[in-house]
Symmetry: C2
Subunit: 211 residues, 2 copies
């Protein structure tokens, strides 16, 4: 479990699992020489990462011009409690995507990207909800970013204490963390669909230790 | 519940609750005119936000020079399922801090900041673990950012469907989400401390609806 506590990778399968599990990402860009970082909803479709927003967003207007951006998605998998303060850490999986955005203007690609976004967040939902009108399509901005320049970084496993500290009488270990749903709060009397009643995120961290 | 689904605020109490609940933040900066966004561990101490890292980190070396940064912390509180695709949303609370970092070089401030970071993540842990050596203190980089330019943005409540959609036979509501711990995985046979066995994040979202 401790063989490779922290590592970076360009492995696309690893990158895809992280992007698909993460519900939001943080998008960074430069405006008037200042950096800005904004939480955003995304979805992956093959080699493309879609970002979703409203045309009123200053960020999306800036990004739609094709300026450089950095999209980072991070999953927190656990708190690592070491015997020494110094070796305390977190288990996490993150992806960083560098590139430039292209605004999606083709109607079919836009509709498909919107479907990917909804299905990314709540698989099974798209077909149940009222489909977008032409006005709503125009009222949605979708940006596309290539995954060509994507990398992942992750930490797994237990604490990496110094040899000299191993016998200290201090509990050490990992507190696993996961984003967990509570019971849905209904806004109407319709029957709760199973994708809402038994909502679960995919959990790629469960497979990491087996690598 | 639907009176103010989305709003921004400069209210420091709101900002503090979000920064204190979030376990990580995303730090954005500009390097060679390109934006970068890196997940980072933070802690707040009064009006100061501390960022924690290793001196080997390119990000921290850049930031320590006092360049502009943007620190964003986001908590995901729920998925909002509307009757229409268009009004699907997420409940969240986020803070954006703009400023420049100052590297903490004073030994006492650095030690105190390290304590704040550990206690921010696992309250009660600092006193139990082996304290940092002088070498470990030197091997840690702490940056300080003022909270002078901080703002929060949040969405609460149920879906905001169009009047015309309210009678559609589509379930609508919110799936609440929270970062929840599983049972600790021990690395030694010491007794599991209560802060690890019954680990919980503070949950500021629980108080939002009462505002």
């Amino acid at each position: 479990m401790k063989r490779h506590p922290e590592r970076g990778t360009y492995d696309r399968a690893t990158i895809d699992v992280i992007l698909d599990e993460a519900l939001i990402c943080h998008v960074g860009f430069v405006h008037d020489e200042h950096p800005y970082v904004i939480p955003t909803i995304h979805a992956r479709d093959g080699d493309t990462l879609y970002l979703h927003g409203s045309p009123g967003s200053r960020m999306l207007r800036n990004l739609a011009q094709g300026i450089d951006l950095c999209v980072t998605a991070t999953l927190l998998d656990g708190l690592v409690l070491a015997r020494s303060v110094y070796h305390h850490s977190m288990n996490y999986r993150s992806v960083v995507v560098l590139g430039r955005a292209r605004e999606v203007t083709d109607r079919e690609e836009k509709l498909r990207a919107m479907e990917r976004v909804v299905e990314h967040v709540v698989p099974g939902r798209w077909a149940d909800a009222r489909q977008p009108s032409e006005g709503e399509l125009k009222g949605t901005t979708i940006l596309a970013v290539s995954l060509d320049e994507a990398s992942a970084k992750l930490r797994t496993g237990g604490p990496s204490d110094d040899e000299a500290d191993l016998d200290l009488p201090v509990w050490a270990g990992v507190i696993p963390l996961a984003l967990v749903p509570a019971a849905p709060a209904a806004d109407n009397d319709e029957r709760v669909p199973s994708y809402a009643e038994r909502y679960r995120r995919p959990n790629g961290s469960a497979t990491l230790d087996a690598e």
